[in-house]
Symmetry: C2
Subunit: 219 residues, 2 copies
Amino acid sequence: MPLNYRFRDPALAALALTHRSVGKPNNERMEFLGDALLGAFVAEMLYEAHPKASEGELSRLRAQLVNGQALAEIARKLELGNALTLGPGELKSGGFRRDSILADAFEASLAAVFLDGGLEACRQVVRELFGERVGALPRSSKDAKTRLQEWLQGHGHALPQYELIDSHGEDHAKTFDVRCTVSEPQVHSAEASGSNRRQAEQDAAEIVLARLTAQARNT
Amino acid sequence: MPLNYRFRDPALAALALTHRSVGKPNNERMEFLGDALLGAFVAEMLYEAHPKASEGELSRLRAQLVNGQALAEIARKLELGNALTLGPGELKSGGFRRDSILADAFEASLAAVFLDGGLEACRQVVRELFGERVGALPRSSKDAKTRLQEWLQGHGHALPQYELIDSHGEDHAKTFDVRCTVSEPQVHSAEASGSNRRQAEQDAAEIVLARLTAQARNT
């Protein structure tokens, strides 16, 4: 299943698949642009699909959809590997199979669609490719503290600590600064503030959970 | 100078200026979306304006334009501070002057424009607000190693170390893996690869420089 977009300028499509091992020009600048566009369009989809998700939850969901491994998987479905232009070194060492090279080529291809056909064309391509994936995300009904606890328990780690660092403002309108810390598999801590201590703890837990899951994905 | 966009749905504009200290709903979800849109449109502007900049340079330039302090400055020009809805605690402690609250409200306002008027409307607002700023960026003619060296010297720090970690591939098509390390003001190191050792060093230097300048901005 190749990319569902017909390029007016095939040279743009080709440049998007040109790895830096070839020399210059290559797809690195396009990857910068494609990464930004992809982030925006996926943010839009998540904003629509998860009207109750907090900012932290939206970030976490996006990181689940937009990461090297997930993008490489899409690149493979689009059969970008065979279309890559690699320098002789990467060619020999099987660069066309490498997640990072595939993910970069996919992002650069999105930039190519944008440069060739405009914002709306790029958005449509992203929506088609990610629609099912966004739909398949778990609609989390569990709050962040619960999810963090379950994640830690599921991995055999100690439970998180929550501390109140500070509170300020008058009694009827206090702001609470809290910290959530986990000690395993590695120390992570995050701070959050809110008019409600429990909500601030949820926000801090969401950040810590996002770091833990990001780390778990990268190892 | 208020935002140059006329909302069909003024409730969206109002929600974008509602801080979480008020409770829910507030502008946090919109900030997530606005941040992503802003990143994409500024990426586009930089891609156009700096056709020779590397990916690392584009990232660095974007971080110069899109950071809490810079966005708060724009929010002040747009007079968002007076229009904010804050909870009583933040109101008392002068939250309408805080950079982070202003920057978030600005990003959320961009999301409101998008939700109200679509992608193109949001893009136009970003282009108007950032056009001059993008134009004013130094067109760096110095390479990253030179800029890193100058930054370190300018701050009285030791010079960076470059090491060749590995090289692979055949003689006529080698890939070089290099590392750039600085020891002051804090240890930072970055790795980069390329078919040309000097270029890989430039790329690694660009990453280290981006980290140093990001850190300097945040302290």
